[in-house]
């Protein structure tokens, strides 16, 4: 099975590397995760493995979930996430199996998926990096406005209404975000910690999913191959 774990973002700090350079890092509690279900084409129509993370008191869970975990021989778990796999990657994976941060041994870059911090209703300058309008030249009370959104001649013809998907004000954040190709700085098997360089989406204590990086730019791909 390719390296994948559920975890929690613990927080950020900065560490010094061997050359004395200060590196911003995020500490992630990665796993330990149990396999709660193995899905195959024969039984479910697709191949996947479901991982369960973090113990939860039975009274805080639900009967269907408790029974689902019990079927795999597990105590009640709080979080369950599915990972789609290819059929041949499922060999040797059984329900109840334990995966720890050791899974990421030898992996140089990872993708980290989390839920970004919610920013509420945000204007176009904050949400889409618009530049706003003039500070002067007669601009009044419109300095952070988006400007014109359409006229009768849009590139959808003479529709007389704004184009679909036009970037406007609205809710920002609180959505699934993946930070790609983050460098792994260290692992702590004792505490199940994964230390990655840079920031990870979401607030501290937020749930994240860590996977081996799928797409690497040439520089990082070279480094990954070397390690």
């Amino acid at each position: 099975m390719p390296a994948a774990l559920i975890g929690r973002k613990i927080g950020m700090t900065r560490l010094n590397d061997s050359t004395g350079k200060n590196v911003p890092v995020t500490v992630i509690q990665a796993g330990p995760c149990h396999v709660s279900q193995v899905k195959t084409v024969a039984t479910d129509g697709y191949d996947a493995v479901q991982l369960a993370f973090e113990d939860v008191k039975a009274r805080n869970s639900t009967m269907p979930e408790i029974a689902h975990d019990a079927k795999a021989g597990l105590t009640p778990k709080r979080e369950h996430r599915e990972f789609r796999l290819k059929a041949d990657q499922l060999t040797g994976v059984e329900a109840g199996q334990l995966f720890t941060v050791e899974m990421f041994e030898g992996i140089r870059f990872v993708d980290v998926t989390g839920t970004s911090k919610g920013k509420g209703f945000a204007g176009t300058m904050k949400r889409h990096n618009f530049k706003g309008l003039c500070a002067s030249h007669g601009t009044e009370r419109k300095h952070r406005s988006q400007g014109s959104i359409a006229s009768h001649a849009t590139n959808r013809g003479y529709s007389g209404r704004p184009k679909k998907g036009k970037k406007m004000s609205g809710h920002l954040g609180d959505e699934r975000v993946t930070a790609r190709s983050m460098e792994v700085i260290g692992r702590d098997k004792e505490n199940n910690l994964l230390i990655v360089k840079g920031a990870v989406p979401g607030a501290n204590h937020g749930l994240v999913v860590i996977r081996e990086a799928t797409r690497l730019y040439s520089r990082k791909a070279k480094l990954a191959k070397a390690s």
Binding site: G11, N16, N22
Partner: protein, 139 residues
Amino acid sequence: MSHPLIQAVEKAHLKTDLPELSIGDTVDVHLRITEGTKERIQVFNGVIINIQGYGVTQTVTVRRIVANEGVERILPLHSPKIAKIEVKRHGHVRRAKLYYLRDRVGKKRRLRDRRRGLDTVVPEPVAAETAAAPVAAKA
């Protein structure tokens, strides 16, 4: 304070031989400067006007006067680029941040050091700091 797990991560990166620093101390900071491939030590002498943060992210702001011009450096205490810190003198201060020194000119900016006397020698650290003492003595 930070999360215990973060502290566990930082632990290996913390220096154990730092002297106890306080605001108003006059210190010699030995900085590792790399020029090309060569490395040498440069001493930055000044007054601590700010101590900020905790753990591995803790920094001090050291202020000194170079050619009649104030120079401040913000130094991460646990950085390997800081070879050594020596406390030369304790200043008598009543503030946690000595930003008022920035507005002082001439002798006024020295006065505060004299409160306990310019020749106040740094008292050799008590029990808790015995580990740091021999280092200071050597220098």
